[in-house]
Symmetry: C2
Subunit: 468 residues, 2 copies
């Protein structure tokens, strides 16, 4: 495997206002402290995602269940897998589908998918979407993967209750159980309780792995394996990057380097919007996955009542967003860093034919290749940003396969916990979403939400002066 970061375009004096040699050297000391903190947290058992590449038992739950599913043939064959999940439970599976399966996987026929099932992800509660999906699914051939660590996620549980009834009406109570698999905490919560009481298969999310760090648990591995992805390669790639991100020496720690560059650019230079921009269609949903990881881990109070810290992660796609967001990156406020992802070996390329030789705006393209154009545009954009004093770096991977995708995800996860230590926040919690949840419970009439109901009633009411 090769994953590399080139951050020449982050550094002064090449980039005026970039990171200086002195800042970088002093950040190495600061990083050693952050590293020590992360090691201590890991020893204390809070960073379970770091242990996932070695967790053969957990991986075995996935491969064992997939083997059982593959043995269902004929009238019992699974052609459509549906994930019920939200947040990390949806973003991980979606990113893996887009990056590691053929483009537009669900639009392909059975042969185009090599006999593997489609993967649908229900990540919202809009009735329009769910009704439309159920209208075209054959319950006989469907398998629903219900993912909630706590077992109490309102959106996922509402979906589950609807699906469960729909299944029972069409394939009967036992048929319904056989078409459900639950992915949840090993001990706690409603889903685990249901699994035990009713004998429904349930796979584990280790207690010390939070949703946005769960892609290498059954949350991501099960949907991926059901589509035929090589999950061992995902884990191996992650393990390799973990090794390369273990040192307390910044110069020998690739995830540390990414974290320090973003943190230093923000806190020392005001660049608090962190763009991730792969030049690769298969990686287009990786940016959304990263946005959750970075936003929910780092955006919070350091001490109760402070103004809050946390960079804003911003997803983009090259070359597409050169025609959407790059104008802002190039000439807007000096508040951004841009991280490109480059794929060195794009696979089979397509030659642009030599047509319209009489039209200069087109003729120059003839004889070049499409993947070459994509790569040239990335280099041109990085160069133009540098020329305009806009700091940027490039993460390069050899190719988009399970090994490199596993590595890339571990790189960004470890960078997140290092960044948490540098910013001085706990990357593992998300206290800010509790109030909204409690207001939802209050309005929906959950019995334990009396205090939230009182607080809700004190909010300002819509003021007719402030409407248009």
């Amino acid at each position: 495997m090769a994953i590399r970061i080139d951050f020449t375009n982050m550094m002064a004096p090449g980039i005026p206002g970039g990171i200086t040699e002195a800042e970088w050297a002093s950040a190495a000391e600061k990083f050693a402290d952050a590293h020590m903190h992360v090691v201590a947290e890991h020893s204390a058992g809070t960073l379970g995602f770091l242990d996932l590449p070695d967790d053969q038992a957990l991986h075995g739950q996935v491969t064992g269940f997939v083997k059982e599913v593959r043995a269902r043939t004929g009238a019992d064959r699974v052609t459509d897998v549906v994930v019920l999940g939200i947040g990390g439970s949806a973003l991980g599976p979606i990113a893996l589908r887009t990056s590691l399966r053929a483009p537009k996987w669900n639009e392909l026929d059975d042969a185009g998918r090599g006999g593997w099932p489609k993967l649908h992800v229900l990540d919202n509660v809009d009735p329009v979407t769910i009704e439309a999906l159920l209208a075209r699914l054959d319950p006989q051939h469907a398998l629903f993967v219900v993912i909630s660590k706590s077992g109490g996620t309102a959106e996922t549980m509402a979906q589950y209750m609807i699906i469960r009834q729909w299944l029972e009406h069409s394939v009967g109570p036992e048929g319904a159980k056989r078409r459900l698999v639950l992915v949840t905490d090993p001990q706690k919560g409603a889903l685990r309780k249901i699994a035990k009481a009713e004998g429904i298969t349930a796979l584990d999310i280790p207690a010390n792995v939070g949703g946005r760090f769960s892609v290498l648990t059954p949350v991501g591995l099960l949907p991926a394996a059901l589509m035929g992805v090589d999950t061992s390669a995902l884990l191996d790639g992650a393990a390799e990057v973990r090794t390369r991100s273990a040192s307390k020496e910044l110069a020998k720690n690739i995830a540390g380097a990414y974290a320090v560059l973003q943190w230093l650019s923000d806190t020392a230079h005001g660049r608090h919007i962190h763009v991730l921009m792969p030049y690769s269609d298969p990686l287009r949903d990786m940016a959304d996955w990263f946005v959750q990881l970075w936003a929910e881990s780092l955006g919070k109070h350091r001490v109760p009542g402070d103004d809050g810290v946390g960079p804003t992660p911003f997803g983009a796609l090259g070359a597409t967003d050169q025609h959407s967001k790059v104008q802002l990156f190039m000439e807007g406020p000096m508040d951004k860093t841009i991280s490109f992802i480059a794929v060195e070996e794009g696979g089979k390329d397509i030659e642009i034919p030599r047509l319209h030789a009489d039209i200069p705006e087109l003729a120059y393209l003839g004889g070049h290749h499409l993947g070459e154009l994509l790569d040239v545009e990335r280099r041109a954009t990085a160069g133009a940003l540098a020329r305009r004093g806009r700091p940027n770096l490039t993460i390069s991977i050899d190719r988009v396969d399970a090994h490199h995708v596993g590595g890339l995800m571990m790189l960004l996860e470890m960078a997140t916990v290092y960044a948490g230590a540098l910013y001085g926040v706990d990357p593992m919690n998300q206290p800010g979403v509790e109030l909204g949840k409690n207001f939802t419970y209050a309005i929906m009439g959950r019995p334990d939400a009396e205090q939230a109901r009182q607080e809700w009633n004190l909010l300002p009411k819509p003021d007719p002066r402030y409407s248009a």
Copy 2:
């Protein structure tokens, strides 16, 4: 139609640090100046998008061509429409497909689509994507819509050259021409030249309508009409909002109100990240369309060499992103405004069955409806943000149909030009992307790029000290 904005949650003292009465009053004067500027620009002919709702001739080009395509039956029938376009040429068609056609349109069979074609959008040059699409398209039944205002967009022209050759090899030169329709400047550029020379159908993008404002030209209308969308209703909805956004009085101008609220929050209160968060799956791609509009129009220099202005637009989706981005909105830096989009009438709702009455975390959901949950979550999130002093507003529409979507798009387009006047930038240009294009031309060997080649050669080379 009804489109309303409630901005109670933007205003002090309800929101500590919100916009004050005095600021709002004084902004009304500033808005009157901005309005005068926009009227003058319109009179000078630079804001062509404002005239599109009345342009029957242009709409007639679309309906006439669609009629001709619908008359192709049997061996000639069009089952797959493919847009070749990037930036506004892709984002508009994608947003219209997601909002106005059934969910996952391209995964439906012919009956599920009511006999209307699929719509594929090639918005990038990754060979993986194009190869996969061509492998499953039947050229006999395909129609390619090539969209480029200038006729020289490198990505789109490269796609076009590949598709043209592919078509000629499979259906012959005349068959190829019949399966191409070009959407471009009425007079200028390579595509117009090709259309004239070879007798290929071409539809107009008026010279004074730029890509990101082009959704109501054939750029958006043609793909929409080919999928069976009521384009007259789109235009009518846009016209209605245009009327409601025409007054110089801020209190009577809905697009003006949106623009002033965002601008004032940014320039007077440092809230320079502008989130757009629809609570509606059909509107999920509207945010990407808005991001281009706001970013490319407002992110630029006011005078050459200044540091650059422009808020960063940030797309989100409710309820989904409550599990991704809302933690950052709720507790991160005080640098954001959040604009929700609410849909008042969600259409047919789905009841959550009363299952698991013995499990309190689930039982409270039973008997409620899914659309109700979505709406409650939006209100709860807005309330929680307000309670935490985070300014937010809500745009409400009655339902997601062509009339309201046309209105919503006109609202955001007009808000963009008012915001341009308030920020003091020209919303119609995008000078920042030229350098990257010129570097691309230089590397690809376009003959007129000698100066860019020299500049390219002066850029810093990768420095091995700055790699990880």
